[in-house]
Amino acid sequence: MNDMRLTERAVGTQTTKITARAVQVFYGDNHAIKDVDVDIADKTVTAFIGPSGCGKSTFLRCINRMNDTISVARVEGDILIDGEDIYDKRVDPVQLRAKVGMVFQKPNPFPKSIYDNVAYGPRIHGLARDKADLDEIVERSLRRAALWDEAKDRLGEPGTGLSGGQQQRLCIARAVATSPEVLLMDEPCSALDPIATAQVEELIDELRQNYSVVIVTHSMQQAARVSQRTAFFHLGNLVEYGETGKIFTSPEDPRTESYISGRIG
C-alpha cells in the first residue's frame, strides 16, 4: 500500500466526486440537516462522525436518495455527482442507486443463497451476459469483500446462515457486485465484534482504490483508522470538515474538540 500515503497527500488536488450545496432535510416539521456544504473526493474514504441523531446517516441517505422512501422526508439544496444534480427531475433514483451502492448498519442479506445474494444486483441490471459471466462477477465480488475463501464451498447455502461479520462482508460483496462508483456505508461495523470490524476496515481501505467510500461511524478510532477525510456533524450542522489527521489533532471548532475529547455526544 505504497500509494496510500500518496493519496492522502493528494487529497486536496483530487477530483471531486460528490458536491453538496446548501442541503436541507426536513422530516415533517423537524429540520434534520441544516445547510450542509461538502465536497467528497473520488477514491477516498470520507468519514462522517457525530453524536447520535446529528443527521449524519440522514445526509448519507440523501446521496443515494434512500430518503425518498420516507414519505415525510423532504430534501432541499443540490447534491451533484460528477456534476449532475441527483435531485433533478430527470434522474431515476433506481439508476442512481446502481451507481451509488449502500451498506447498512445491520447486516441484511436476503434470505436466499449466498450466490443469489451477490448475483441479485447484476441480474436486475443485466450486467452478466451468461451464467459464466455471472459466476465470475460473484467470485470477483466475494473476493473483493474477502469472503471468497470462506464462502466458495457453500455458495448455495442461505446468506442468513453466516456469522454477523460474514453477513456484513456479504452485504459489501453484494454492493460492489453492481460496480458502483460511490459506496455509502452506514455504521457498517456497529453490529460486529472487533475481529470482524478489523476485517471490514481492511476491506474498506482496499475498496478505496476503486470507489469513493463514504462511511458513517460512531467510533472515532474507526474514523481515524480508515478515513482520509472526516466530517463532524452536530445537531444537523456540518461543524467541521477536513483531513482526518487535522480533525483529530487540531480541530478548529470547539464543538469538534469537545466531541473528540469525549465531553459531548
Binding site: R97, N108, I124, R174
Partner: protein, 446 residues
C-alpha cells in the same frame, strides 16, 4: 448507605426462607396457571361434546339400507312402440313403473319363501318412493334391458332405514302412521334372506336433495358442486384482488387522509355482518346486474366481497412483518420498488398471505346467511353443468343444505343434517391442514 441500622430491602434476609411477598407472588402465579388450565379443560370438554353430539347423530347418514329385488321390465308396459327410443319411452311416467317394483317385491318374497300378511301395497311401502324414479331413469338410460328381469338394488324407506339405525323401534312403529310392526317383521325377514343390507352410503355425496317425504334419498351432490364452484370464484377473485390491493396500500400508496380512510373502512368491512353482504349482493348482482338467482356466480361474488377484507388485512399484516431492512437492501442495490416487492418482500410474506387466504376461504365455505338472501336456499335437484356455464345454473351450498335439512320435520333429516355437518367440517379441516402445510413448507425455505 453506610448507616448502622441495616435497611430492610428486597435483597436482605435468608435465601432459604421465602419471605411473605415471594410466597404471595408464587401463590398468585400458581392460581393463574390453574385458571388457565381450567379454561383449556373447559374448552376441550366443549369440543368433545360438540364432536360427540355431531358424530352420534351424523355418522349413520353415511350408511344406507337397501333392498335387493328382482324386477321384470315388460315391453308392453314400458315401450309399446318397440323402437326403444328414450323419447317415446319417456311417455311412461313413474306411475307406470310403480307397479313393477310392487310386483317385483312380491315375486322376490315368493321366490325366497317369505310369507307376510301385508297387502302388496303395504309391503311395497318398505321401498322408498324415490326408487321408482331411479328405476325409470335407469331404464331410460339402458333401453336394451326391456323384456328382461333384472336385479335392482332399491333404497329402503326412511322408517325402515331408521329401524336399522335404532331410530325406529317396534314401540314407536305402533304409534307411527308411516310404518307398522308388521312391516318391520317383513324387513327382518328380508334381512334374514340376505336381501336387505345396510352399506356405505355413497349416494349421500353424489345424490341431489330429495323431497321432504324421502329423507333416505337426500344427498349433498348439488351442494358440494355449488360450494366448490363458489370457492373457485372466491379464490380466483379474492386472492388476486386482495393481494394486489394490499401490496398497493402497504408498499406504494402515499400516507394521507384518503388512504387512512380506506384503511379504516377495510377494517370496518371485516366486521360487517355477513347478511348485509347478502342484501348487497341481492341488490347489485341480481336486481341491478340481472344475474340469475340461486347461481354459484352470485354466491361466489358475494362471498368474495365478504372475504376480501379478511384477505387484505392478513396480507397487509404479513407484508408489514417483513423487516424493512430487506426492502432497503433491495432498493439500495438499485432494484425498483416493484422488483423489491416481488423478488423479496412477497416471497417472505407468502406464508402469511396463504394462511390468510385459506382462513378467508374457510370462512366463506361455512357462510350461510348471505346465501339465503340470493336464493341459494332453493330446492335444487338438477346438477349444475360444468364450468363456466354451470356457474350460472341453480345450485345450493353445503351450509345452506344443512340449514334446509334442519327445517324438515322427518327425524331422518336430523341424521342427514348432522352428516352434512361432518362433511362440511371435514372440508374445513382439510383446508386448515393445507394452510398449515403450506405455511410450514414456505417457512422451511430459510
Amino acid at each position: 448507605m453506610t448507616d448502622a441500622t441495616a435497611p430492610i430491602g428486597a435483597g436482605q434476609g435468608s435465601l432459604i426462607q421465602q419471605d411473605s411477598r415471594t410466597a404471595k407472588r408464587n401463590a398468585a402465579e400458581k392460581r393463574f396457571k390453574m385458571y388457565g388450565l381450567a379454561a383449556v379443560c373447559v374448552g376441550i370438554a366443549m369440543l368433545i361434546m360438540l364432536v360427540t353430539s355431531i358424530l352420534s347423530n351424523g355418522v349413520s347418514a353415511f350408511f344406507q339400507t337397501t333392498i335387493q329385488i328382482m324386477v321384470e321390465l315388460p315391453e308392453e308396459k314400458l315401450d309399446k312402440s318397440g323402437v326403444r327410443d328414450p323419447e317415446v319411452m319417456a311417455k311412461v311416467t313413474t306411475f307406470g313403473y310403480a307397479p313393477l317394483l310392487r310386483d317385483g317385491l312380491q315375486k322376490t318374497l315368493e321366490d325366497n319363501g317369505i310369507e307376510t300378511e301385508l297387502s302388496a301395497k303395504d309391503a311395497a311401502d318398505l321401498i322408498s318412493d324415490e326408487s321408482v324414479a331411479q328405476l325409470r331413469r335407469y331404464v331410460l338410460a339402458n333401453p336394451e334391458l326391456i323384456g328382461q328381469t333384472i336385479p335392482v338394488e332399491v333404497l329402503a324407506s326412511g322408517r325402515i332405514d331408521g329401524f336399522y339405525k335404532g331410530r325406529v323401534t317396534y314401540e314407536s312403529a305402533e304409534l307411527d302412521s308411516n310404518v307398522s310392526p308388521e312391516q318391520l317383521d317383513l324387513a327382518e325377514a328380508l334381512k334374514g334372506a340376505d336381501l336387505l343390507k345396510t352399506g356405505f352410503n355413497w349416494r349421500f355425496f353424489t345424490a341431489p336433495d330429495a323431497s321432504v317425504t324421502r329423507p333416505e334419498a337426500a344427498g349433498l351432490g348439488v351442494a358440494i358442486i355449488g360450494s366448490f364452484y363458489m370457492m373457485l370464484i372466491v379464490l380466483c377473485l379474492a386472492l388476486p384482488i386482495g393481494v394486489a390491493a394490499s401490496i398497493y396500500l402497504e408498499e406504494f400508496a402515499p400516507q394521507n387522509r384518503f388512504t387512512d380512510l380506506i384503511e379504516v373502512n377495510i377494517s370496518n368491512l371485516a366486521a360487517v355482518p355477513s347478511i348485509v353482504f347478502g342484501i348487497l349482493g341481492l341488490a347489485i348482482f341480481i336486481n341491478f346486474a340481472g344475474l340469475p338467482q340461486s347461481a354459484p356466480i352470485v354466491g361466489g361474488l358475494v362471498l368474495t366481497l365478504m372475504t376480501l377484507p379478511t384477505i387484505i388485512i392478513a396480507t397487509r399484516a404479513s407484508l408489514k412483518s417483513v423487516p424493512p431492512s430487506i426492502r432497503d437492501a433491495a432498493l439500495g442495490l438499485g432494484a425498483s420498488k416493484m422488483q423489491a416487492v416481488f423478488h423479496h418482500v412477497l416471497p417472505l410474506a407468502m406464508p402469511g398471505i396463504l394462511t390468510g387466504t385459506i382462513i378467508g376461504l374457510a370462512q366463506a365455505l361455512g357462510e350461510t346467511a348471505p346465501l339465503l338472501l340470493i336464493g341459494m336456499v332453493a330446492f335444487v335437484r338438477e346438477y349444475p353443468a360444468g364450468p363456466p356455464e354451470g356457474l350460472f345454473d341453480p345450485a345450493t351450498a353445503l351450509p345452506v343444505q344443512i340449514f334446509n335439512f334442519t327445517q324438515r320435520s322427518d327425524p331422518a333429516f336430523v341424521e342427514r343434517a348432522s352428516g352434512a355437518i361432518i362433511v362440511l367440517l371435514l372440508f374445513l379441516l382439510i383446508m386448515n391442514l393445507t394452510a398449515i402445510f403450506l405455511r410450514r413448507r414456505f417457512e422451511r425455505r430459510w
